[in-house]
Symmetry: D2
Subunit: 465 residues, 4 copies
């Protein structure tokens, strides 16, 4: 397959050999198309998008609408949806990862292709768990890009990284749920495009099983009683026109038929939502970081900037920095590609570890690399003259989105410790064989000294003999 | 001295014993007064200041004006100006460092006491180098807080970290200088309080000595021909109402009497400006970081936030993080205090190394610690609900202000290498004594083996015998 | 293929899906055999090997000889030699990487399978560049494990990371080369098994092309005039019985027919030697680190060690540490596998970047992880009671073997900078499209502001229009 | 005081101004004498000491004995013992810190001045807690340097970082204690100079208060029943002739009069032992690191080593590395000096935090810096040709000696969390003042929004009004 494509130029340059070997023609075509799209329609249009948004902060800019129509027409919509869904355009996770990296080069490029968060997660959720009526009413328009949606889980008053503590009350009264409480971090409905919240709340607080207390509900954005207190800025950025809202629910009434999958099944759904969606951010971060790196290269070779008479890139310290960044970006890409491929091969559930690996390693390191790229630009690096500050902020944000990395590390660490017993057993076997060998080789003396300091509790093994 | 004060509570708690032992009664009184001021008048007023600024972005908020008047009346103005200046309120750099840390707890607190950048550097510059007429016209009102000033050095088209590349043209025509060119990073004159630029530019481009080509000029902010193109945002923050401007000078005419110290002496002045002013930022960053740390402590013990049923501060990983942050903040404070004390003892020039040490170590590490404190807050940590994002941004900014840390590291490293010859000479002496000892102790065999791999070029030493 | 094997247990557990999918039956069989070999014959025999070496430090221990015979009989010899060599047992680099990781679990396991440095590099070198007579005399016995060899390049008096500075003199006199000079770091010939040095030296010092001055010579270890001054210890370890020698060559005479490939072609050969050989170390380091990690897991769950009443692995800080180590080891494995696969796909030369990537990222990080594992053991971690100190030392050594990482980073960084011009060109294209778009969207105002601070030198682009 | 001394040369160069200002004439004289001693008698004698030890590994080398006599005659013995002890030569901790740094330049220099671990801790312990008879028998000869002693606390079978788990049994039978159990890490008694163990063991295992179960006992090294199993190597080094033993106590009988202070008071003593002794290591590490740094400087300017035609120190990356190392060493020195000064001012107990600060920050960072210095030397850096590998090993060891840094961090972190309640209270006060201010400034709207996301639990505060 790879033989048809030119691996010395973008978008295929830099892809690992094993990834190239797995790309089907359909994917190669899409990757090229996404590349062309971003290079021609998105990157050069950044200032236009910014200018339109500056004028009308809380509406989708006309340019975005035009680009979305155009991208849809070109068959670039919903590429993220894995091929096993009937609604999918047919890419594997690995193939999509190649596309997603390219999308990441511009903050809003994924949105032009309907591949942006939280739509991707929501669409996958609905495709997986919604009933036909719900699909018709909500999934189809989302796939079509008719309006946008939000996912509403985090709450201000609890430690949302432990979702069992989520407390918003959804009380069943007749055919309706009456909702009271507060939420944070779903997109704001100041933008009229925003029409749906997928809300996780507590329907059965007294259930003995804490994993069965919560339900997932479809909440139209204009339902009376739902108020936005303010938009949450992220490191000073408002992220308009989507934003991140702070909400109050006051006697909000939603038909019981809007429950997804059934009452008490929120965790089942949330678990399923944590597949590919969770690494889309990481895929895009790689692309974003590649672009930051381009900025660093440009500054390093800027003839106008010659401290002490030398190009910035003539300083060995900067040469080493550029090398280290390149090496680390490429290593992170391998992590993300491997996560995508693992999901393709074994499914989302088996991919839990590699997803966590991406989630923990990528945003933290990428933020650090972008920070270094900013440093190449001196004072200018922090200003609006490059997209670097927004890139850093996005990476910093993703380090917290879907849970802080420490929480994920805990999960990984606990899983490792579960395997310790088996490791210990194997080492006890080593010990027993070694004992035999010592006898065999006449190393009695050493056997005698054995009563001393062992990393294994030898007495325990002996008793097992 | 320390016996009079209670070292178990703020503001004296946490001060190193040796620092306490050097505080004179006048300083103890001022430190207490600054502490009370910040605790009572500044921290609780943060939301008021923010609200007033939100309504009128490019004017000094009424609250700031009131607080400045009040602080001046309380004798809290200009504390930064070292005691040897006639205009000084009388503190040493070390004593002021204690005050500055406290000021740092609120982004704008230093301004209420006329101790903010760039005023501090400008005031010291004028106190040191201006003539009497210039002092009367510009220094007195600045000390009195009648208007504000900016320092204008950085340029968009050169590598300003090497100031000899600065290119803005200041041509002497008759009794005037005619200025043409561009500048960045001085405060914007959208705020009418902003009335003076101290401008570094090129008056004698053909001078053989590159250190004599530039002059420092007093430029009234409303001079015709001086235009602001835009405000530069820093990581998305506009830093209103002071801001950071991008300027065009087009045939700006300034009387030659506005030159400070004399034509061609800009570097002499710039050098002198790099004394205490350069570490005020670091002093304040420590205080800011202490406040960020308080936020982390509060979150760590927030009864509402219990992932997996435990306080965030019950997790050993967070206990270790809180410890490490505490240890590092305190170590950085020692660095800054030592820099201040070294300047007090040996003067600004001899303090060059310790100033660089603060400049290089403090902002980088403090930014990292504040980032960690944000992480304690999960998603909320990045929003406007705490001052943490602005704190991080300020630390990040200071890492570049007055030059990127790499440039300073280069200077330090080159100085170290200058000392290498002397070190080598000492090691050659070791070698010669060792040779004698080997003979003395009958270690001929080892002497014979000497012809092999030595970290010193032994043959070169032999010839020196 | 992967369907036949049980991926939930060693040695296939932990292998990335894409790697598993590329393993051919022959490889699966070998990997399993190597795994069984190391688990049963090597790990439990560590103390025997140590005891034999303690008694007779500079001879190959009897156990090693027995194991080598046994491994050869089982078809486990020379697995490293890639399948395209006639002498190869048939594995690809990727397949061998799986074996090498397992070998790495015991410091000397690779040697039992004739897959240890420097034999691997030497064998590949001879297979590639030696003539038939040389192959018969030297390659065959090496493949057969009859004796061992060393590679002799580094010199005490020059900066060997830049091999053009290598100075040992090899003067052609008649049919012989007469060698004078000093070398360091080839294995010592105190062990009689050690019979061959592949020596890089200077045959044509006056050649204008510095890349044509050197030749590669086959030097029998017992040639008169070749003296070992001492063994070089590595962090205190003597690495017996192979060691690292410090040599003097005094009028050593070698027949001219011992030159490999021809005079002046040393760099051509050295270049070719830098293929797979250079990442074998990295492959083994991963395996070694996996074993260090097992030690950490065992200590973390040691019932005898309960500070403050809790298992070491009950502390969240240690849970997070175990997670982070796991994540990073697995990410490094992806880097090494990708390097092997890239060489398989595109050849060694095209693999230069990925080889450097392994070389730079792996040893440094692995040393850090092993250090962390030692820390889990408290004081015991530094003693002879676990192999951890030797593991750390090996990783530290590999960071310098084949050149310090800084030298490799420089190469990578310079290559990146070579690509900067093309990146700049692309950005100029963005700029020109953006300009058109601005006109199209009526953003004249912004166009006017364009004269200000651009990260690109806009004036230069304009002139290109 | 500082005026008498030349601060531009060693040993006073590099001392912070505030430290210089505190040095009394007696200290200045001693510092100079220690400097001259180390420069002339120790550094050049390193190879002699090594050679003597190589010949007779487990006896104190004759050179060491000669140097000790000479140093004692010069009044350089026991400088570490703080001035308030009658046996003290009269220095403060701060003054001694200056000496200790110089001693650290050679691994064994402190021993020539009877200022080495564990003698220092043992001498202070006996001076503080022993009765007159014990002092006469043990303290006097130790002060006189007649024999050496060890401190025996760590055990192989428990987590000794939590000393309450220490289990060696010391049973009172008549006038004797009968000891059974195992110990690790005290010096080995293979060296006949080694004559005394201060042993911590369990005399009252059933005492309800875990802090009263243990006693401290004086154990002559030749007591029957006390066997050494082996010496523990540290990263491969045997640390002869002192070493680190692994012991078995089998019915070892010691007169009850050998208990120090009284039965059950081991923790009281251990606590007291943790004063200055704990930072002597850190002081010496700074000196050691300074010497490592000198080696780096020498390599950086070695005319024989010119990769790519440039001195190693001509590479900007190395210039920056040298700068960063210099800055960090100097910052760590400030930490250690401050710890010493704090103990001088407030006593050892109040110094607990600053001692922990040194213990946690210094060894870890110093090991890292020495590692970097080794890297400057390429392969040679790991060999016996410089003392760098032993230096690294010592720093690594100190990171674990007196407990792993994580344990100390936990203590510091827990202490910080104890202060959180007070911080919270202060923030609640800010909130209440802010509320008043909002009313005052007519910011009702913002007051209304107050019901949303606060970092404080506002409802709790309200109820407190």
């Amino acid at each position: 397959m790879a033989s048809q494509i030119d691996i010395t130029v973008a978008p295929f340059k830099g892809l690992p050999a094993w990834v190239l070997s797995k790309l089907r023609p359909v994917a190669i075509e899409k990757i090229q198309a996404v590349h062309d799209w971003v290079e021609t329609e998105c990157i050069p249009a950044e200032s236009i998008m910014k200018a339109q948004l500056a004028k009308d902060r809380w509406h989708t800019p006309p340019l975005m609408k035009q680009l979305r129509e155009k991208a849809k027409a070109r068959g670039l919509f919903n590429l993220f949806l894995p091929h096993h869904f009937p609604e999918s355009p047919g890419l594997t996770n690995l193939e999509y990862a190649c596309c997603a990296e390219i999308m990441g080069r511009v903050y809003w490029a994924a949105q032009t292709m309907n591949c942006h968060a939280p739509e991707t997660g929501n669409i996958e959720l609905l495709a997986k768990y919604a009933n036909d009526a719900q699909k018709k009413q909500w999934l189809q328009p989302l796939l079509n890009g008719d309006f946008s949606s939000a996912y509403s889980m985090t709450e201000p008053e609890v430690a949302s990284s432990d979702a069992t503590t989520i407390g918003i009350r959804m009380e069943k009264v007749g055919d309706e749920y009456i909702i009271n409480g507060r939420k944070i971090f779903g997109n704001v409905n100041w933008n009229p495009e925003m029409q749906l919240y997928i809300l996780m709340g507590c329907t059965d607080p007294d259930n003995k099983n804490p994993w069965n207390r919560h339900s997932m509900l479809l909440v139209p954005a204009d339902t009376p009683g739902l108020t936005i207190v303010r938009n949450l800025s992220i490191m000073g950025y408002d992220h308009a026109p989507e934003g991140h809202g702070e909400y109050v629910y006051q006697n909000v009434r939603i038909p019981a038929s809007n429950v997804i999958l059934g009452p008490g099944r929120a965790f089942e759904i949330a678990q399923g939502r944590l597949g590919p969606g969770r690494i889309h951010h990481c895929m895009r971060l790689i692309g974003q970081c590649e672009r930051a790196y381009e900025f660093a290269l440009i500054r390093a070779t800027d003839e106008r900037k010659k401290p002490r008479g030398r190009l910035i890139g003539d300083f060995d310290s900067n040469i080493e920095r550029l090398a280290q960044m390149r090496l680390e970006i490429d290593a992170l890409r391998l992590v993300v590609f491997n996560a995508a491929d693992t999901m393709d091969t074994y499914g989302n559930k088996a991919g839990r570890y590699v997803i966590a690996q991406s989630k923990i390693l990528v945003p933290d390191k990428i933020a650090h690399i972008i920070d270094e790229c900013m440093q190449f630009y001196g004072g200018q690096g922090l200003t609006q003259h490059t997209p670097l500050p927004e890139m850093w902020t996005y990476a910093r944000f993703v380090r917290l989105a879907d849970g802080p990395d420490a929480a994920h590390r805990h999960q990984v660490g606990r899983d490792q410790l579960k395997g310790a017993a088996q490791v210990r057993k194997r080492h006890e076997r080593y010990y027993l064989i070694a004992k035999e060998l010592k006898r065999l080789y006449g190393l009695e003396e050493e056997l005698a000294a054995e009563c001393t300091w062992e990393y294994l509790d030898v007495s325990a093994i002996k008793s097992n003999l």
